[in-house]
Symmetry: C2
Subunit: 477 residues, 2 copies
């Protein structure tokens, strides 16, 4: 097909072969074919194994040569010592565009012969026009065509607009599991684990995601990259279009040494990465939970136009936790409520309410019913001195959480500013949180998380404004 | 009863009255009686309300005076304007030892008349020998006698050895919900929310927990205290016996101002608190999730004898996350594996395993089966250069998590060093994590959490050793 990018053959193959397909449930070659069938991949799947007649109901091919017609992608799920042979067969067959090499035991071992073997595999592939994912990798997932080449533990795959790149299969898989465990499962578009990056690397995928219509937010787990200049070029280009959130390990010297032993990547000084991330508009996070929180914020809410957050809380303690976190924010600060706004709040809230002590912090108190929550929310959303709202509530026993959430939804959905919600806590509020997220309103377990996410969204807004000024255009909306 | 402490009448009352008991399900006076009955409080419960004949099947008393015999505790669940009148009746009746005042709208408002009203209520009580919890508080829970005076959302109450003190009902309730949501519910012994601290304050409760046989770990949510000298005396005394973990807000200047508006406590400079915590051996945490993690570590595992942690991982990424976090630890560092230990590991692990790159970090790789996990664990637990072990695994599809957990349990239970486990991730490993925790092995969602907990346990060990040296005794075991 003309006009297709190299990576299209990975993410949108029309046909693929699993080499080493097996009926032995302990083998990767069984699991991969099973994933494809269970998930319902829209293209053709060809199992290949000279020792098998049939795998999971599909006729098994003896060799790649026996497969008729087009073959875009091959998943090589054989032991490391057999990979070169398979790649030679693939090159000889012709017409194959892309390969995933699952086996470990190559350059990451730093054993000279195995480093050489990896190079030979890649050279063989590239001469035949085949690109290589891996080795030492689990490959690709795409929720658009129900593609899953991995051997990861089962994840419910929800379609969404977040795409993931990972240098660790385990961390990448855990990212999806954390996303699935949000009150309403947080969906994804594409997922890729690159292993040793002998050919295709994280930067090529980042660039691809940057141009992908189905990706609005990119999340990456990074251990290290080799070409800083190329990173800066690609990251700068992509962050202009969509947020790129990176969890990079090797922040400490000892962690950086451990990273070098994993994928063999040159980790390099963390300060250099940090400076590059800031310069390129990358959103850096320290923990996987943060990556998921920040991705959720970007995916569900518009960017705030300024740094002023109104904290509207029904309970003192969690409200103070939120304000306390604001004190450590890079950008976020308490909002300003006008004299008129304060009067409106006084008129609509219980007499015990603490309005603007300090300014922008409103404790509506545990006496607040549903209408108090909703009325106060509408007042602060209308305030010109408010760029974002964090609504916190600990629904008492007489205020069932779902009813409260339903009564708040009209105001939340009508807001043209980011609004984050914390319904505390636990199982008592699970259904309310799920209801809100299913309606596009992000919820967080604790207010401090919400503040961190808002702060990163404000950082991105500031970065985009700076870029727009440099390019002489109008500030980004 | 002679020899009883004042707070015994709160935590172990033989009888209690709920004033304002109601059949109206929206009222606190209904919820409190319901909690008592649902939970199965072992003492006597007397509903009091002149307008009710019966509440939830219990005969309702017109006044406190009508209640025959001993009455240890009264829960005053009437509007704020009625509280003084009730306290006068209680004083006149005589024999009452303790009162909980639920209503808000007193000194925390900073309205002079209401500040005065609170003082008058306390003076009335104290003259009659009645201690006061609150006002503006939800009171007490005790899992030993099934006591619950609160109006908190429902929590499954599991018996355990962690006791909680909180200056926010919402934060205290959320703590229990977070504890309940651990893979195996993390139990508690006692729980207390003190509100305005007009009489009983957090320090008196801390001292009480210090002497309580059923409490091995204390957790506190703190906004501010008034008497620094008394805090230092009591905290120093209690931390010699058991860990005291404090989440104190008001770390930032703006957060400190918000805290002052909540309970009216003098928050004071955070640096002063921080120095006092360090001097008194208090374990300080920044987030509620951390408080629960650290309490779990202290509750389930012995203190490490030194700072050297062996990271044993089946997956590179999460292993590197753990090592990276070690690089930021106050005390924890990578362990040393002897030459002999390395040879044993080489002999028992798959050939691809990365042993001690760097020293103390062992990647057993995704090729590891159950026996590889268990054998390696036994080797490192025997090493003299290892004070604690963090075991990380991402069970592949062919290694069912529960089976793996079962095969590891003998080594985990036999360990005389702290061992923490991370089974990543999500629902795929829920049952395995629950199995391990039910058997006393703490599990964590991410390895970085486990490292933070170990680091705090090492800090406590160091503190206890210092105290022991100062007192001329032997170092604490």
């Amino acid at each position: 097909m003309s006009g297709r990018k190299d990576l299209d053959y990975y993410f949108y193959p029309e046909s693929l072969a699993v080499i080493g397909a097996s009926t032995n449930t302990y083998k990767a070659g069984y699991q991969i074919v099973k994933n494809m069938l269970d998930y319902g991949f829209t293209g053709k799947v060809y199992p290949v194994n000279p020792k098998e007649k049939e795998v999971l109901g599909l006729s098994c091919y003896q060799t790649l040569n026996d497969i008729p017609g087009n073959l875009d992608l091959i998943i090589i799920a054989v032991p490391s010592s057999h990979v070169l042979g398979v790649m030679k067969e693939a090159a000889a067959r012709g017409g194959i565009k892309a390969a995933v090499v699952v086996a470990a035991g190559f350059a990451e071992t730093k054993v000279p012969e195995l480093v050489e073997l990896e190079k030979e595999i890649v050279a063989t592939a590239r001469q035949a026009g085949i690109r290589v994912f891996g080795p030492n990798c689990v490959g690709i997932q795409n929720t658009r065509n129900f593609l899953d080449t991995t051997i990861e533990p089962p994840v419910v795959k929800t379609q969404g607009d977040i795409s993931i790149i990972t240098q660790s299969g385990a961390m990448g898989g855990t990212t999806l599991l954390f996303m699935e465990e949000q009150p309403a499962p947080l969906g994804f578009s594409k997922w890729a684990h690159v292993g040793n990056m002998s050919d295709v690397d994280v930067l090529e995928i980042l660039e691809y995601y940057g141009e992908d219509q189905d990706t609005r937010v990119v999340g990456m787990y990074m251990e290290g990259i080799r070409d800083g200049q190329r990173f800066r070029e690609i990251a700068s280009k992509v962050t202009k279009e969509k947020p790129v959130i990176i969890l990079k390990v090797g922040r400490s010297e000892i962690g950086s040494r451990a990273a070098a032993s994993h994928t063999g990547a040159l980790a390099g000084s963390d300060k250099i990465y940090d400076a590059a991330f800031a310069k390129c508009g990358v959103t850096r996070v320290d923990y996987l939970e943060e990556l998921v929180d920040v991705a959720k914020g970007f995916s569900m809410q518009p960017l705030p136009q300024g740094n002023r957050v109104c904290i509207l809380t029904e309970a003192g303690g969690p409200g103070i936790v939120a304000v306390d976190q604001l004190g450590f924010a890079k950008h976020a600060e308490l909002a300003h409520i006008s004299e008129e706004g304060r009067k409106k709040l006084e008129a609509c809230l219980p007499s015990m309410a603490m309005i603007c002590h300090p300014d922008g912090y409103i404790d509506i108190t545990a006496a607040a019913m549903s209408e108090h929550h909703a009325d106060a929310l509408n007042v602060v959303l209308d305030e010109p001195g408010v760029d974002a709202v964090l609504l916190i509530t600990v629904p008492p026993t007489f205020l069932p959480p779902v009813e409260l959430a339903q009564s708040l939804l009209p105001a939340l959905k009508a807001a043209n500013k980011p609004v984050f919600v914390c319904f505390l806590a636990g199982k008592w509020c699970d259904e309310a949180n799920a209801f809100l997220e299913a309606n596009g309103i992000p919820t967080f377990k604790m207010p401090s998380q919400a503040v961190r996410v808002l702060d990163e969204m404000m950082e991105r807004k500031k970065y985009l404004d700076k870029i727009a000024r440099q390019e002489g255009g109008a500030p980004n909306a």
